[in-house]
């Protein structure tokens, strides 16, 4: 088990559950941005017969930014997950285990969010108009 120093470095006050939900949160923000941008574009800017044009560009930019954000969170999470030397499942009652566990889950959530964001971004490749 890790010693006292370890415990202090990964103490609860430095860690909470919020990092876990950052990546899915980025997915959600990306999704809503894509939706509202295109909805307003088709309703207010070009009309239902218009081209998506710049709105597709916007989706592409959002997607790149979102993937970058998720990548950063994933990278932080990966470092946490590989914290310490043990590789056993995070199933013990120590702060270090908990730290690695949250890192692991955050990493997985980042991967899922990245796939989901990519799926959403994919739409811009296929849809070119407001029909």
């Amino acid at each position: 088990m890790q010693g006292g120093l370890t415990m202090e470095r990964v103490a609860e006050k430095n860690e909470n559950l919020w990092l876990m939900v950052v990546s899915p949160g980025i997915w959600a923000a990306h999704f809503l941005l894509c939706y509202s941008t295109t909805a307003v574009w088709c309703a207010k800017v070009v009309g239902r017969d218009g081209p998506l044009g710049e709105a597709r560009m916007a989706i592409a930019i959002y997607t790149v930014l979102a993937l970058a954000g998720i990548g950063i969170v994933g990278w932080i999470a990966a470092r946490r997950q590989s914290y310490g030397s043990e590789t056993v499942p995070q199933a013990f009652d120590t702060p270090g285990e908990r730290h690695r566990f949250l890192g692991f889950v955050t990493l997985l959530l980042s991967a899922l969010s990245a796939v989901a964001t990519a799926y959403v971004g994919l739409t811009a490749l296929f849809i070119q108009t407001c029909h």
């Binding site: 994919l122 296929f126 108009t129 029909h131």
Partner: protein, 366 residues
Amino acid sequence: MLVQIIAQNIRRHRIGGLTASQRRLASARSGRICCRRQGRKVGSLVVLGSLLVLAGCSGPLSTLDAAGRGAERIATLFWWLAASAILIWVAVIGLTVYAVRLRPEPHSQRAAKLLIIGGGVALPTLVLAGYLVYGLSLLPDLLQPAPPGSLRIAVTGEQWWWRVRYLAPDGEAVELANELRLPVGEPVEVLLDSPDVIHSFWIPSLAGKLDMIPGRVNRMALEPTKTGVFQGACAEYCGTAHALMRFYVAVEEKEKFARWLARQKQPAQAAAGPLARRGQELFLANGCGACHAIRGTPAEGVIGPDLTHVGGRLSLGAGILPNEADDFLRWMARTEDLKPGVHMPSFGMLPTQHLRALAAYLDGLE
């Protein structure tokens, strides 16, 4: 490949089966429904095996019995999806049966983790991406409006019938109700709206459905590929008689269609025979003209269906009755029974003689 072959086979049989059922229907409906080309004979075993499927996939409302561009592409998508879904189901359940029923020696944690990563993550991600790409690639075409200059038809869903107006390029409209006739192989633009509640316009054999929403106009492109008589239905719950809001669609050769449309533009033909003439008098005397229009007569109501050529239609009461003089009589006498909640009052209080005269008049408006 296998899937396609199976799908092709099933489609062939379907057409055969359809013809049979169509024939039955046709004999019941005084031969209005035209026949389709016969299915080809295939190996007897296969025929036997697919008889059930065959019977299962045909029908006047069938999405799998595609006769329009949209419906055809969606049916193909369905067969691919269904086949892969069955495969996946068998694999997952097979694995579980293996784990629970055969109770193998415990597998290592490593193998278990690999199963999660491979079966639970990698495979689904790829399969789902494939599905998504397939679905998205169909979408632009399915949503593409009909090209400019196409025939335009405005269909209005009302509780519980369909107001249909063929819009000429000069803005003039020919109004009819509860049926569409379309030229085969031509794109058609259908404009959909509703003055009351939300309905949904759906001709399964031709294309997917699209809602009719008060305050909005939705546009749909249809492109029938085969002639025949199909049915449509309201697919959005719209109140008491939602189940009884249907219609017929006849897809015809271009010339036949043009003749039909020219005919629809004409005012109603004069009542022929004393009974029908009596019927016309009764029609006006009983105030039917307050709701119904019969062009060429003083009846100019706009609330209910236009009856100018009602005798020539494929059905009565929005797709729920055949179109014979007797059916007119039944409809007028027992309107509420036949269609609960209907906004037209029953005329059962009229003497049968009067109803018969009215029916003769209306049936004659071909």
